[in-house]
C-alpha cells in the first residue's frame, strides 16, 4: 500500500460531461487519459509522478471498467518498451516516470520506439524534478526529445491546459506517427485547480483484439534497411505532419501579438510565473491581458519556424524565457531568424541566468533588464527586493531518515564498525538509504544511479586489505541491481560486500509494493525473497538480518562480511519494514484495540535530563527526528540535554546504541500498558507498596537536608 491513498480522490475519475473536477494535477492527468480512450498505462514511480502511479493503483477498478490495462513496470525501460503495443495497433498507450533519471533508463526503448514510429497514440508523461529541493542532477528532457525526435509538450501549468495537452498529445502522436512526451514540472504535478470534465471513452480497439489478430510490419523494426528509411521518414513525413497539426490546432498561443515591437517567447510551463512578473511590472493583468506580445510555446519541440517568424516580424527584440541548459530553443530560434534574415534581436540567457531554476525573483530581474534596455520601463530604479540577513544563521534542513526508520541502525552499525576495523569505501545508491551521506552518518563516497550501488564498486575489485561496501535498496535491486550489481559481481569474481536494504517497499518514492514486499497485494505478486534471488544468480555468501534494530547482529553480519577469509561476493540483506508504512498500518489497529478494551502495550524511549550530560553522542549515532535537544534544566549546566519527543515509536535503536557504544545510562524505555489485566494491576499494587515506601523514605531523608 502506498504512502498516500487516493481511494477518495479517484472517485473524481468517474465525473461525466460538464462536471467540474477539482483536485491535483496528476489526478487531472489520469482523468484526461480516461477521456482520451487510453487502452493501457504503465510506469515507474519517482517524484513528482509517484502519485500518478498511486492514483492509477488506487483506480484499478475504474481502469478495469474502462478496459484499461495498468502495469507497475519493473523500471522505466520496461515502461517505455510497453509502448510497443502502439506500434502495430491503433491502441493509445501512456507511460510515466521521473525525468531525467527515468528517461535515462528508458532511452533505449524510447529510441527504438521513435525510430519505427507508432500507429496508436503513444504518450510519455515525464515528471520534471528540477530546482528547489530536487534530488537529482539538473538536466533537460529536451535533449531526449531532440535526439530521438519525440515531440515535447510543455503546457501552461493549470488543469485545463494540462488536460488539453494530454488529449492533443495523443492526436498529435497519431497524426505524425511519433511518440509524444508531456513534460510536467513538479509544481504543476501537485497543483490544485479545476477543469470541466468530459465523459470517459473506451478504447475502440482492444488489447484482446491485438493479441488474437497479430499484425506485423517489418518496416517498423530497427534493422537495416528500415532504420535508414526511418531517418528519412522522420524529417520528410513525420516532422511536417506534426508542424501542420500544431499550427492547425493552435497549440502554441499568440497573446497581444501586435501590441508592440518587443516580445516575449516563453515555454508554457513558465507562463504563469512570467505573467505574474509582467503584472508586477505593470505590463499585464491577472487575467493574462498583456501590453507586451507573448508567444507561448506549449510545444517545446519541434519549434515551429513559421510561427516564430510570424511572431518576430516587425519586432525590435524578443526575450526567450527558456528554463534549463543547454539553451536548445534559443539556438534553434537564433538559427531560424538568421536563416530567414529576420532583424529582431534575440535575447535569452544573456539577460536571464544561464543556469538554475527560473524562480519568480530571477524572472523579475531578467525581464526588468530586457524591458529597461528597450525603453519599455524607465531606467529609474525600481523598488528592489532585498534579501534580509538572518539574525541567527538559518540552517539547512537536509532530509533524513524518518522516526524509527529501520535503515538508520544499518548505518549506525557501520559507524560503530568503523571504530573497530577502520573506514571503508562506500558505494551508495538511490533511495532513502542515500541519506546516509548526510549528517550525522556521513557515509557514502559515490552514487551512480538507481540500483547501481554494487555496480559503482566494480572497479574497486583488486587485491587489498579492505573490502568495499556497496549499498542497494530493495527498490533498486529489483529495478536493475540484481543483474547490474549482484550478477555482475558474481561473474567478475568480486570480493566486495553489497548491503541490500530490504524494507518491503520502494520507500523513497512513497511506499509502493515490489516483488519482495511482504504485504498481500490483490493485484500483484509479492513475497519473492531477495535472498533467493541473490542465491539464484550464484552468490554463496549471503546473510539475512531480519531485524535491523538488533545492532549487535547487524554489526556482526557486516564485520563478518568484511573480514571473512571466504572469497567471492558477499551479500547482507538487512530486513525490517519501513516504519512509515508500518505505523500507518498499525497505529489505527492499536487505537481500535485500545478502544475495544484489549490489553495493549505501547513503547517509547525517554532520556533522564539529570543524568544526561549534553554530549549528544546518541544523536550523532542516530539522527532520529524524535531524538532532539532541550534547554538544560540544571542551573549549573548550559549545554542542552537530549530529549525524546512523543513521536517516538519505540523502535529500540536508542537503547541498542547506548549499549553498543557504551554511551550513557540516561535512556529509558517506557512501556505503557493500556487496559491492564488483573495480574498487571495486582503486580502494580505490590510494586507500588514496596517501591513507594522506599522512595518516600529516601525523599524524607533528603528533605532533612534540603534548602
Amino acid at each position: 500500500m502506498a504512502e498516500r491513498s487516493f481511494a477518495e480522490g479517484v472517485k473524481k475519475l468517474r465525473l461525466g460531461d460538464g462536471d467540474v473536477f477539482r483536485g491535483e494535477g496528476i489526478l487531472a492527468v489520469t482523468k484526461a487519459l480516461l477521456e482520451s480512450g487510453v487502452a493501457y498505462v504503465a510506469g515507474y514511480q519517482g517524484a513528482p509522478i509517484s502519485h500518478l502511479m498511486d492514483v492509477l493503483s488506487d483506480a484499478q477498478d475504474i481502469l478495469a471498467e474502462q478496459g484499461v490495462h495498468f502495469e507497475n513496470s519493473a523500471n522505466e525501460a520496461t515502461a517505455a518498451a510497453t509502448l510497443a503495443a502502439s506500434v502495430n495497433y491503433p491502441l493509445r498507450g501512456a507511460v510515466t516516470f521521473k525525468s531525467t533519471v527515468g528517461t535515462n533508463v528508458a532511452s533505449d526503448a524510447l529510441a527504438n520506439l521513435a525510430s519505427g514510429g507508432v500507429t496508436g497514440g503513444a504518450l510519455i508523461i515525464v515528471g520534471e524534478d528540477n530546482g528547489e529541493r530536487s534530488s537529482i542532477m539538473q538536466e533537460r528532457s529536451h535533449a531526449f526529445a531532440m535526439k530521438s525526435q519525440i515531440w515535447l509538450l510543455d503546457p501552461r501549468p493549470d488543469l485545463p491546459s494540462i488536460v488539453k495537452a494530454v488529449k492533443l498529445g495523443f492526436e498529435l502522436s497519431e497524426a505524425s506517427r511519433t511518440p509524444v512526451m508531456l513534460q510536467l514540472r513538479i509544481r504543476a504535478c501537485h497543483v490544485h485547480g479545476r477543469f470541466v470534465a468530459s465523459a470517459n471513452q473506451r478504447s475502440k480497439f482492444t488489447l484482446r483484439q491485438a493479441m488474437e489478430n497479430p499484425q506485423r510490419d517489418s518496416s517498423r523494426i530497427v534493422l537495416p534497411p528500415a532504420s535508414f528509411q526511418h531517418e528519412q521518414e522522420k524529417l520528410q513525413q513525420r516532422w511536417p505532419a506534426a508542424v501542420d497539426f500544431i499550427v492547425k490546432h493552435q497549440i502554441n498561443e499568440f497573446i497581444a501579438e501586435h501590441a508592440g515591437d518587443l516580445g516575449i517567447i516563453v515555454q508554457g510551463g513558465s507562463f504563469n510565473s512570467v505573467l505574474r512578473v509582467l503584472e508586477r511590472l505593470g505590463q499585464a493583468d491577472v487575467f493574462g491581458r498583456s501590453q507586451l506580445p507573448i508567444y507561448v510555446m506549449n510545444v517545446a519541440y519541434p519549434v515551429v519556424s513559421a510561427e516564430v517568424l510570424r511572431f518576430c516580424s516587425g519586432k525590435r527584440a524578443v526575450l526567450l524565457v527558456e528554463e534549463g541548459q543547454p539553451n536548445f530553443i534559443e539556438q534553434n530560434i537564433a538559427s531560424i531568424l538568421r536563416s530567414a534574415g529576420a532583424s529582431a534581436a534575440l535575447h535569452g540567457k544573456d539577460m536571464l541566468a544561464p543556469a538554475g531554476e527560473y524562480t519568480a525573483a530571477e524572472l523579475l530581474r531578467g525581464l526588468r533588464v530586457f524591458l529597461t534596455r528597450y525603453g519599455q520601463l524607465p531606467p529609474a530604479p525600481h523598488p528592489v527586493i532585498e534579501i534580509q540577513p538572518a539574525a541567527a544563521p538559518v540552517q539547512a534542513r537536509p532530509p533524513g531518515f524518518c522516526t524509527g526508520c529501520p535503515e538508520r541502525p544499518i548505518f549506525t552499525a557501520m559507524k560503530l564498525l568503523e571504530r573497530e576495523i577502520g573506514v571503508h569505501h562506500v558505494s551508495a545508491d538511490i533511495g532513502c538509504h542515500l541519506f546516509s551521506i548526510l549528517p550525522p552518518f556521513n557515509l557514502g563516497n559515490t552514487t551512480m544511479g538507481y540500483g547501481l550501488g554494487a555496480a559503482g564498486a566494480s572497479a574497486l575489485n583488486a587485491t587489498a586489505d579492505k573490502r568495499v561496501i556497496g549499498v542497494m535498496g530493495d527498490g533498486g535491486f529489483w529495478h536493475n541491481g540484481l543483474t547490474s550489481g549482484i550478477a555482475n559481481a558474481v561473474f567478475n569474481r568480486s570480493d566486495n560486500l553489497t548491503v541490500i536494504v530490504d524494507n518491503s517497499y520502494t520507500a523513497a518514492t512513497g511506499g509502493q509494493d515490489i516483488l519482495s514486499s511482504t504485504a498481500d497485494n490483490t493485484s500483484r505478486s509479492t513475497g519473492h525473497a531477495i535472498e533467493r534471488a541473490v542465491r539464484g544468480v550464484g552468490v554463496d555468501w549471503v546473510r539475512t538480518v531480519d531485524n535491523t534494530y538488533d545492532l549487535v547482529a547487524m554489526k556482526a553480519a557486516l564485520k563478518d562480511a568484511l573480514t571473512t577469509k571466504v572469497k567471492g561476493p558477499k551479500v547482507v540483506v538487512a530486513q525490517s519494514e519501513c516504519m512509515l508504512n508500518r505505523q500507518r498500518r498499525e497505529k489505527p489497529l492499536q487505537r481500535q484495540r485500545v478502544a475495544a478494551g484489549e490489553r495493549v502495550v505501547r513503547e517509547r524511549f525517554g532520556v533522564d535530563a539529570d543524568t544526561c550530560t549534553g554530549d549528544h553522542s546518541c544523536i550523532r549515532l542516530s539522527g532520529c527526528p524524535s531524538l532532539t535537544i532541550m534547554p538544560n534544566p540544571d542551573p549549573l549546566r548550559s549545554d542542552p540535554v537530549t530529549t525524546v519527543l512523543d513521536s517516538c515509536v519505540g523502535c529500540g535503536l536508542c537503547g541498542e546504541v547506548a549499549h553498543a557504544a557504551v554511551l550513557c545510562p540516561s535512556f529509558y524505555r517506557a512501556q505503557i500498558v493500556s487496559n491492564p489485566g488483573r495480574i498487571d494491576r495486582w503486580r502494580q499494587r505490590l510494586r507500588g507498596a514496596v517501591i513507594g515506601w522506599l522512595q518516600r523514605r529516601g525523599a524524607a531523608q533528603r528533605a532533612r537536608w534540603a534548602f
Partner: protein
Amino acid sequence: MDSAQPIKIAILALGGEGGGVLADWIVDLGEHNGFIAQATSVPGVAQRTGATLYYVELFPQAAADAAGAAPVLALMPLPGDVDIVLASELMEASRAIQRSLVTAQRTTLITSTHRVYSIAEKSALGDGRADAAALLAQTRAAALRFVGHDMAQAADAAGSVISAVLLGSLAGSGALPFTRAQFEATIARGGVGLAPSLKAFGAAFERAQRGEAPAPPPTAPAPVGGALHPQVQALLARAAQGDSDQVTAMIVEGLRRLVDYQDTAYAGLYLDRIDALRSAGASAEVLRETARHLALWMSYEDTIRVADLKTRGTRFERVQGEVKVQPGQLLAINEYMHPRLQEVAETLPAGLGRWLLASGWPRRLVERLVARGHVVQTSSLRGFAQLWLVASLRRWRRSSLRYQLEQQRIEDWLAEVRRVAAADPALALEIVRCQRLVKGYGDTYERGLHHFGLLREAWQVRIAPARLAALRDAALADDSGQALRAALQAGA
C-alpha cells in the same frame, strides 16, 4: 487592465508537520466561500523531515465573473508579494524572511515560536543552538503584523496538531475575509480528529484575537527557606563571604548539588576549595565559574549517583508525565545500563578496585560478565532492588577508587587555577572552563578526560587564554579528536 489581485499565502513547514493539511484547509475554505483556489507544493524528499514550502492563491470568483476571464494564478511566490506567511517553527519563519517572502509593507506573519532543532544544532558536542531570541526579535520586526506563540505546546494541550493551531491563528488574525464559522465548517468537512482540531483551532483563534499575552515574569531563583538543618545553616553562613550576589548564588547552587550528591561534609570540602581559591586572589568571575564547574566535577556521575537518581520517586513521577501515562494505564520503566570493568572496579574500595584492574582471571571474569549491556526494569521489585542497593553504596563512596581518582584530578586542576589566579585571571578562567570537557560516562568520559589532559599539557607550557579557549572549542568539534589534533599541531 484590471487591478484585481489574488490573496497570496505561503506556508513553511517541516516534512510530516501537516503543512499539506493546512494548505488543503485553506483551499477548501476558499472554494466553499466564493473564491477560486490554487495551491501547490514541492514535496519530494523534503517530505522526509526536510523543510517544505506550500503556496496558495485565492481569487474572488465574483471578480473573475465580472472580468469574464479566468485568472492566471502563480505557482511560486514572488518575493515581496506575499500577503500571509504561515510558519510551523521559528527558524522556518526566519527562512521566510531570508527569502523575502515576509515584508514589513504587506505581510501578516503567523508563526509558532517553538524550535525544532536542525541536525547541526542537535548533533553538536556542546551547545550548537542558534540564538532563538535573535530569531524571534527579527521575526517580530520583519512583518507588517506578527501573530506568534508556542503553537506546538498549544497543539499538545488540545491533543491536536500544529496545523489546527496555525489555522486558528490565521482565522483570529482577520487576515482572510472569512468568518470563524466558515473556518470551522472547513475543519468539519475534513472529518478526521474533529473535536481536538476544533479545540486547538478555537484556542488559537481567541488568542490571536486577544493579541499578545504579556510575557510571564521571570522565574525567581529557588528560594532558600524552611526550617533548615543546623549543618546546612552553617554551610550557608560560610557561603556568604561578601562575594557578589551572583557568586554567592552560584556557590549556594553548588552546595545544594553536593549535599544532594553526598552529604554536608562533602559540601564543606567544596567550600574549603572555594575559600582556597579566593585566598589565592581569584577574580569574582573566576570564583563564580569555579563554583559552577567545581560543583559539577565534584558531583561526577558514578554508578552510585546514576542509581540514586534513577530510583527516586520524583523521577518516576517525571517519567509518568513525560511519556503521558493516562489514568488507568500502567507504566514500566526499563533502564539501559552498560557498566564496564572500569566502572565496576572504580565503585569498589580503592585497594580492591586496583587489585581487580591489575588481576588476571578475576578481571577477565568480570569483563565477561559486563561484556554486554543490561536492561534493568526499575519499576519491578527485582530491578529496583538492584539499583537501590547500588545507590546505598553512597555512604562508602569516599573509599571507592573512583573517588580517589576524581579528587586527585580535581586537586590538580584547582592547583593550576590557583597558580595563575592572581597573575593571569583570564587564563585562570579558561582553565576553569576546561572542566566542560570532563563529562559523561564510558567512552564519552574517557574521550573527554583524554582531551582535558591534552589541554592541560598545553596550558602548562604557557598559553594565551584565547588559544586555550580555541583549543577547547576544537575538542568539542568532533568525536574523533581530529579537530583538536589539528588545532594543537597548528599552534605547535
